[in-house]
Amino acid sequence: MTDISADTATVDETAKVETPFQRFRSEFFESWIATGALFLLGLIIILALLAPYITPQNPYDLGQVDVLDGRLPPGSEAFTGYTMWLGSDGSGRDLYSAILYGLRISLAVGVASGMIALVVGMAVGLVAAYAGGRVENVIMRLVDLQLSFPASLVALMLVAILGKGIENIILALVVAQWAYYARTVRGTALVERRKEYVEAAQCLGLSRTRVVFRHILPNCLAPLIVVGTVQTAHAISLEATLSFLGVGLPQTEPSLGVLIANGFEYMLSGRYWISVFPGIALLLTVVSINLVGDHLRDVLNPRLKK
């Protein structure tokens, strides 16, 4: 008897301290694919962050890049003595170094544009859902209009107008993506708004801003997080696309897209490594983010719960 009561007491104890975040965490790590993807993503981020300390060459410093090292196959020794495990590109950049530096740019652009688009889209979507009427109509038709263009086309046009440079790329990506967030938030907020706890909050005499930001917004976060991860992956590949097309980042500071574009011309001459290795890096990054996002959706969606 005493054993049983002690047992239930401990069960109760754990149930009490488990916050929604802890529950979410334990559910997330149930899937080994998602865990692996998260691990890979973490590794990619750490490698990108540590790039200046773990690469033999700074590919952006023209003083360290030697044209004589150009187009060396993987495993060759560079003129200055280190081994180029992944080979080098046409201008003599060590691909391993260039990929890590490129990842830094790709991730930074993707995350920055994703975050800014999230904040903008969230605010616009919440306003639309709560204001209703004409305001909502105008905003949502604008969103529809925006979404009827392919995101890459919108970004391409904007970069063509604004010019190259990281800030302009980020701006273009924000403009190309805010509408996804706005639509998601508005949809969820409309559902949440009808729920009784909002009515109850109103009955408590809480102010409108408090009801919107404190009560409705936190309940909209789950789908936002999912869209956020998927859109960040999307932003990274969009940036690569723009760079590949030559309207993205400058040649002197190659992102993954620029590296792939640079190698493209050598593909048919058998020097596959210049395009393929940056391509694999891009692929791994985008796939790992998408896998994490996908599983987040499963965990955060109450309807898919077991």
Partner: protein, 324 residues
């Protein structure tokens, strides 16, 4: 006894594309300090809309088209949103039907309760927390300190409804509108919740409007009962009188259809016909088409008359009592 709330000729209509829905169509009642009034009726009879009208929470296309709602003497039927906001949750509180839905799932109980206090009073968080804890203790929640840290999904339905009641009583309101607060709960929990609510109204002198479709619930709880049908109050009076000697044919039918009033093995009594379409109410008494005593006299809308200490809207009061 002074009236906390007086509702006079309240009409709340909804202007839908299909026509005007007269959800509440001329309702009069008053609630005194410390009094519990049961507002009884079927779904769609306008009882909840009456409650929401008092709080000024009618969303378009609905609006209050006529009538006065005097709260402590002040007419709040057309009051500004600012004025109503200072009353809601402070002087007039609401308890909802489904405790699973009325607490915000992502906020802890303490956050939600403290916020309810801070919305109306400038006290420091510590004091608000202490008051929340005491309120939870009052409604019979064991170890309130721990419950305050819980999220709604960690509490049972009965526990959540207790939290909702505690929140309603937090600011010592003059009036509480309880909209079917026990409908979603088990019968045993129902009894406990009713007991807690009754105890608190007695202790604090808070007036309460208990909206329900269940006569059995209000029979033991309310001081007075108002029976609603199709947007109007058809019978109003002391609980004992209404329950023991119903006068309006609808009340008679309602009481007759309570399962315990029926004999075992026999078919349960039910009122014939369907609740009327609110878009197309019959002329005159809305209950007439379902009423076995209806005559031509029912066609002009029956006025309110006082019979045996009760207000009823019927030209054929059933003085003989239950004959169903």
């Amino acid at each position: 006894m002074t009236a906390v709330l007086e509702v006079e000729g309240l009409k709340t209509h909804f202007f839908t594309r299909a026509g005007v829905v007269k959800a509440v169509d001329g309702v009069d009642f008053s609630v005194a300090k410390g009094e519990v009034m049961g507002l009884v009726g079927e779904s769609g009879s306008g009882k909840s809309i009456t409650g929401f009208s008092i709080l000024g929470l009618i969303d378009p296309p609905g609006r209050i088209v006529e009538g006065a709602i005097r709260f402590n003497g002040e007419d709040i039927a057309g009051a500004s949103e600012e004025r109503l906001k200072t009353l809601r949750g402070n002087r007039i509180a609401m308890i909802f039907q489904d405790p699973m839905m009325t607490l915000n799932p992502v906020l802890r109980i303490d956050t939600q309760m403290i916020e309810a206090i801070l919305a109306h009073e400038k006290v420091d968080k510590r004091e608000a927390w202490e008051r929340s804890r005491d309120a939870l203790g009052l409604v019979g929640i064991p170890s309130p300190e721990e419950r305050l840290q819980a999220y709604p999904h960690q509490l049972s339905g009965g526990m959540r409804q207790r939290v909702a009641i505690a929140t309603a009583f937090l600011n010592r309101p003059d009036l509480i509108i309880a909209d079917e607060p026990t409908t979603a709960l088990d019968v045993t929990i129902q009894a406990q919740i009713i007991h807690e609510a009754q105890k608190l109204t007695r202790q604090t002198g808070t007036a309460m409007i208990w909206i329900t479709h269940d006569l059995a619930v209000v029979a033991g709880l309310a001081d007075r009962i108002s029976v609603m049908y199709a947007g109007r109050i058809v019978e109003q009076g002391e609980t004992d009188l209404v329950i023991d000697h119903p006068l309006h044919p609808y009340t008679v039918g309602l009481l007759g259809s309570v399962p315990s009033a029926n004999k075992r093995g026999e078919r349960l009594y039910q009122i014939e016909g369907m609740t009327p379409n609110m878009l197309d109410l019959p002329e005159g008494c809305a209950f007439a088409p379902r009423c076995r005593w209806a005559t031509d006299a029912c066609t002009p809308p029956p006025g309110v008359q006082t019979v045996d200490g009760r207000q009823i809207r019927c030209v054929h009061p059933r003085r003989e009592g239950v004959t169903a």
